[in-house]
């Protein structure tokens, strides 16, 4: 029995988004959606976090920041890309400084499409991420030392399955 899926603590980072998705992420904390029901807490600290919510695409400047936050999080951890900008670059894709989606710098486990992603979709994405989290934890216990391989394959599936809207 593992408790990781019962208490996912979230850290939220805003890449170069239009701020739309960030508002929706914060809306999840309000009494209307109340993610604390699932034990989800919004921490400001990567060292306490299990789930990394990224909104907005990655550019040359925040590339290092995204990487550093990811590296500071203790295993097991999942990355949820929120909004179409975080999935693929979205409307900012053609900009000269944009690298693309979050998966250009760190492995992403769940893609939540939408512009802006609705709070229901974000919660759904985090809950999907919990299954991945559980899997990574099981791999950790078994001593399989390559957590990056499998989730990436799972993520690809997720993308084709959900990303049809864009």
């Amino acid at each position: 029995m593992s408790y990781i899926a019962k208490s996912p603590w979230v850290i939220h980072y805003d890449g170069s988004s239009c701020n739309g998705c960030d508002i929706e992420v914060l809306a999840c904390l309000t009494p209307m959606y109340d993610v604390e029901r699932f034990g989800i807490i919004n921490t400001g600290n990567p060292k306490h976090a299990d789930v990394f919510l990224v909104t907005g695409s990655v550019n040359e400047q925040n590339k290092e920041v995204v990487k550093q936050i990811y590296e500071q999080m203790p295993e097991p951890k999942v990355v949820v890309a929120v909004g179409i900008c975080a999935c693929s670059g979205g409307v900012f894709k053609q900009c000269y400084n944009i690298l693309g989606g979050v998966d250009t710098v760190i492995p992403v486990d769940v893609y939540v499409p939408g512009c802006a992603a609705r709070p229901e979709a974000i919660i759904d994405g985090v809950v999907k991420g919990l299954a991945v989290l559980q899997e990574k934890r099981d791999n950790m216990v078994k001593g399989i030392d390559a957590p990056a391989e499998e989730p990436e394959a799972a993520a690809e599936e997720e993308k084709t399955e959900e990303g049809g809207e864009n």
């Binding site: 990781i4 208490s7 034990g39 919004n42 400001g44 600290n45 060292k47 306490h48 295993e75 097991p76």
Partner: protein, 289 residues
């Protein structure tokens, strides 16, 4: 006598984390209800801690885990002394030593956020320490002993003669429980200007241990509240437990109705309360006892 002491020590060691954890769970549930939310399950604090034990251990410096371990041991030790009927003064000084080690642990990480948190924790200690001392002095003047085992069998409730001290103690309890408006150094809510203050650099098992010792500490502090009502009878005990529950609820209410204040306010208000309620109460005691 010895047997009774050993039983209460073992009961404290085993039951305190459960009681503390459930109190923390109720705290989150009640807070959520006060904010119009559903809130997590009452067992959520246990899930959180068990999860923390499952995470990968990351330490900034090796020595910080050592300091945190000493913190945990001293917090538990202070509770053991309290529930074994030991000396109140010893209890509060052991607790002070424990806090000092947590502060050293935070400083040792060299992280600016942890250091600001540690600094604020020091200021908080300065704010609440006088009132805690005065509480002990009050008990000594009324009951004639610093030992918990003597206070608890006293013939009359110390509550009325020590009412000023009780009010002062409730005030600093807000600081000790890390509740708003005085959750300066570290908070369970999403105030993020300090990231996580004191505990920024602790993760995984270390953070879990800090959380557990926080539960031990809370139960011990509620034990202080209980002492105000203990008179050696069953009724005294029942009233004591009820007041402990009401006190905790009151702290949650305060927590939800105030924003975080600056440390200057915490410091000044705690000392003013200690001077007004504590000192006047002790002076009156001096005249009547």
């Amino acid at each position: 006598m010895i047997i009774k002491m050993i039983i209460s020590i073992i009961a404290y060691l085993i039951l305190a984390p459960f009681v503390g954890g459930i109190l923390a769970g109720l705290d989150r549930k009640v807070s959520a209800r006060m904010q119009g939310r559903v809130g997590p399950s009452i067992l959520q604090p246990f899930y959180d801690v068990l999860k923390l034990f499952e995470k990968e251990p990351i330490t900034v410096t090796k020595v910080q885990d050592f300091y945190v371990m000493i913190f945990v041991i001293f917090v538990i030790a202070s509770g053991v002394i309290f529930f074994a009927g030991g000396d109140l003064l010893l209890v509060i000084f052991v607790l002070t030593v424990a806090s000092a080690f947590l502060i050293i642990a935070a400083y040792s990480s060299n992280s600016p956020y942890a250091q600001v948190g540690a600094e604020r924790e020091l200021l908080q200690m300065m704010a609440y320490e006088p009132m805690v001392l005065m509480t002990c002095i009050g008990f000594y003047m009324y009951c004639g002993s610093f030992a918990v085992r003597d206070i608890i069998v006293g013939t009359s409730m110390p509550f009325l003669p020590l009412i000023g001290i009780f009010i002062g103690f409730l005030f600093i309890l807000t600081i000790k429980f890390r509740k708003s408006p005085f959750d300066l150094s570290m908070s369970h809510h999403a105030h993020q200007e300090l990231v996580k203050g004191l505990t920024t650099e602790f993760s995984g098992k270390t953070l879990g241990l800090i959380e557990i010792s926080h539960w031990y500490e809370n139960v011990m502090l509620l034990g202080f509240v209980f002492l105000f009502f203990a008179n050696g009878t069953v009724w005294g005990a029942i009233i004591g437990v009820l007041v402990c529950i009401v006190t905790y609820f009151f702290e949650v209410l305060i927590d939800n109705s105030f924003a975080r204040m600056k440390w200057q306010f915490a410091f000044k208000s705690a000392w003013i309360v200690a001077l007004v309620f504590g000192v006047i109460n002790i002076f009156v005691l001096y005249l009547i006892v």
